[in-house]
């Protein structure tokens, strides 16, 4: 299930050249009622002893246009971009497309819903989902 953190290292190699990737379009189970394409935000997920962290890249999404929900162990994130910012702008050249973002994850851990925290910085959403007390690993003393 989880990899040895030592294999991953704590700081990632920073000297490599960054590559361009196409945004992946969301193929949702249910169709959206609003028109326009949705994209899947790139995500990192890691786990510590007391929490699960989900980090997602949603450039252009403001705090007020972001919805995060957890229901029946499914975490849903929906972030909308503000198309009004592109008013009166005529595209002349394009290398990427723009759109809203949505992604959901089925969580295997029991999460303490009350204590979920979210932080949005430089287009990156970080969700810290603390594990419920009874889901945290307990050290069993061997008598």
């Amino acid at each position: 299930m989880s990899k040895d953190p030592k294999d991953e290292g704590t700081t990632m190699a920073e000297n490599k050249e960054m590559a361009v990737r196409e945004k992946k379009e969301l193929v949702a189970k249910e169709e959206k009622t609003v028109s326009g394409r949705y994209f899947i935000p790139y995500a990192d997920i890691y786990e510590t002893d007391d929490a699960l962290a989900v980090v997602m890249e949603m450039p252009g999404v403001e705090k007020k246009d972001l919805d995060v929900g957890l229901e029946n162990d499914v975490l849903r994130v929906d972030g909308r971009i503000d198309t009004a910012k592109y008013k009166d702008m005529e595209p002349v050249y394009a290398e990427y497309n723009i759109g809203h973002y949505a992604r959901s994850f089925a969580l295997s851990n029991t999460i303490d819903q009350e204590k979920i925290s979210a932080n949005l910085e430089d287009g990156v959403l970080t969700l810290i989902l603390p594990k419920a007390k009874n889901a945290q690993p307990r050290k069993i003393a061997i008598g």
């Binding site: 890691y46 592109y86 595209p91």
Partner: protein, 140 residues
């Protein structure tokens, strides 16, 4: 050209417009024209141009922008950090450094260039040079 005549179809038509421009070679002439990070979109607003690029996770302090003549150079780096004792389940985000120079096919006023960075999106406002603006010629 009014891009958003109807707010309900706005995004769809805008996405189609962007898709249609993917084959344009407007920026291709630069030293690192197409295909380099970060991907850029170019817009025209009146006489001026606006370049927008998405660089989520890059801190403002890690960004460097230079303008010379009609060439723009954007460089920087992006680091990802995980807590010491974390078990990583999924790693999709990329990190590393980037350096991209693009040459615009129009003359801009280098002193008037403005940059704005918000929510992982960098917008560069490039005023067109006075000498480059089209002039209406009166036909006598």
């Amino acid at each position: 050209m009014a891009l958003f005549p109807d707010p309900f179809s706005a995004l769809t038509s805008f996405q189609q417009a962007l898709d249609a421009l993917r084959t344009s070679d407007w920026l291709e002439a630069g030293p690192s024209g197409g295909g380099a990070y970060p991907p850029m979109n170019v817009f025209r607003k009146g006489d001026d141009f606006i370049i927008i690029t998405e660089i989520p996770g890059v801190k403002k302090s890690d960004l460097d922008l230079q303008v010379k003549g009609r060439t723009l150079r954007l460089s920087g780096q992006k680091a990802l950090a995980f807590p010491e004792n974390a078990a990583v389940h999924r790693r999709e985000r990329l990190s590393g450094r980037f350096d991209r120079a693009v040459t615009l096919p129009v003359a801009i006023d280098p002193d008037g260039v403005k940059a704005e960075y918000r929510d992982g999106v960098l917008a560069l406002f490039l005023p067109r040079a006075e000498s480059d603006k089209p002039r209406t010629v009166r036909i006598g």
